[in-house]
Symmetry: C2
Subunit: 101 residues, 2 copies
Amino acid sequence: MRKMNHPAIDDIALSQVLHALSDPVRLDVVRTLARDGVASCSALDGGRPKSSMSHHFRVLRESGLVRTQTDGPAHMNELRREEMDRRFPGLLGAVLGAPAD
Amino acid sequence: MRKMNHPAIDDIALSQVLHALSDPVRLDVVRTLARDGVASCSALDGGRPKSSMSHHFRVLRESGLVRTQTDGPAHMNELRREEMDRRFPGLLGAVLGAPAD
DNA sequence: TTCAATGTTCGAATATTTTCGAACTATCGA
DNA sequence: TCGATAGTTCGAAAATATTCGAACATTGAA
């Protein structure tokens, strides 16, 4: 398995995070992860093709929002909640508390 | 002057707001409006062409972030801060408090 | 070591955004 | 009413994003 790109949290730009969150599919993934803590990619795909989801997970990883770790053949995802809260205080809280689209 | 589209705040979707804020030009406009209160389009253009800025202001208006009113030939813009705070509590505060890109 | 399960990567099609010149509209003052 | 100022709209080009099938890679288990 190729090494995944988990950028340092201080290298993340705000507009990058906002863009990652502005896609409904990804916003949904983030909401689910906030609720469930950890989930595999397939548990979060909502019936969408694997390649589409792989793209979305990459965007989420590159924006610093999600950390992915392998657990057997599965990739387990979780929010980088503490780090995001340190870099962008209140942002995730506001997004997760907002009314669903 | 054609009537501007200022949607009801409750019709705004979160992803719409996040998308509007995810563009660096628009994020800059929002930051400046938060600091200065009210400003004309030309005061916020940063040297960019009028037609480009007109596009960005339209996105900001349609996302509920900005209200535009005519004042003579000029269009004065301001954040819909209270309304946004009611619909998306903490969101603007977090965005405006975040480190500049 | 072969298989099934889980994701990634690649490439191409489609869709959406961004950018900006040119033409147009509105407002105010001379 | 003519001009100057301030923005909008239109249209087209360029840049980005999204989608997804097909092929490939990795893991653990039979």
